[in-house]
Subunit: 162 residues, 2 copies
Amino acid sequence: MNVQNTHISVLLRDLHRSLIEIVSAMNRPQRDEALLREAGLSLDRALFPVLVLVERLGPIGVVDLADRVGRDHTTVSRQISRLESLSLVTRQVGTHDRRVREVVIAPAGKRMTDRIDATRERRARAVFDNWSTDELATFVGLMHRFADALTDDPGTKAAEPA
Amino acid sequence: MNVQNTHISVLLRDLHRSLIEIVSAMNRPQRDEALLREAGLSLDRALFPVLVLVERLGPIGVVDLADRVGRDHTTVSRQISRLESLSLVTRQVGTHDRRVREVVIAPAGKRMTDRIDATRERRARAVFDNWSTDELATFVGLMHRFADALTDDPGTKAAEPA
DNA sequence: ATAAGTATGTGCATTATACACATAATGAGG
DNA sequence: CCTCATTATGTGTATAATGCACATACTTAT
């Protein structure tokens, strides 16, 4: 263990600290509720992340979606049913694979996510108030790179069938 | 809306995309389980984040802890009881305020989090394999700053009693 | 053509969760 | 010193979310 490695260990530990802070903040149900309230909307908080992901990830199957939210596919399947009964999303048979029932955002759902996004952007601007554009751009670039590396990390994915 | 603002909007949207990826990855229960398995440990996955936070945040009360994990304090209270019965944490009456029962990491719990940290660091090194030390240092610095800004953001905290 | 694999959905039992409520301790004001 | 509002914690209980076992429909490989 040389100096360089020790230095990196410290950096990684510091990074993990920040990551915990960030994930904690993002995970607070109060945060979603405040966001919805501020946007003048009402939606079950369990359904909120699913709706946002459907809008972001476009036509997507239940299994992929379940992998994203970290829940069993049966759970997500039921959540989608509820979103569908609220006319916020639609299901359509997959074009290439007819086993897949692709979930798509519906007009009412899109209107909702648009309002949420607007509110979120307003907040984000406040958070980055005293950042220069260059700093922000650098940060966004590094975050993008980190997110990609993390997603490709085998330890992050589901365990292979042994 | 001038060019500068539009540019920032794009940056923020890109950032949110990455944030979703990162938080999704961190939230996967499979990730915790894989981490535990790799470290040769066994622990209920609901208890895992609580244990880690107790180790990180040192002697801490139930309310503060509940705020961090985004759950009701009664839920966290029960989780701590379970951790205590496993001899992973200890409770002690607060030194300054005797209402608080501070939760402290126990030797067995510390041994567990140490092994987890070691495994986590090994993984992190793999993720940042092709980053230069400078890039990593810059990233860590910006993440730290972001985490602080996010934590101070009123929209992230609990709603005030209105 | 048959079998193996994958995507989805339902019945059901478990349990995590939060609300209502109770207790103990603190701190402010009279 | 003595209330009284406030805060930290914990228990009983009802609700709801979750995941497993299982079934069905479709795809792909042999």
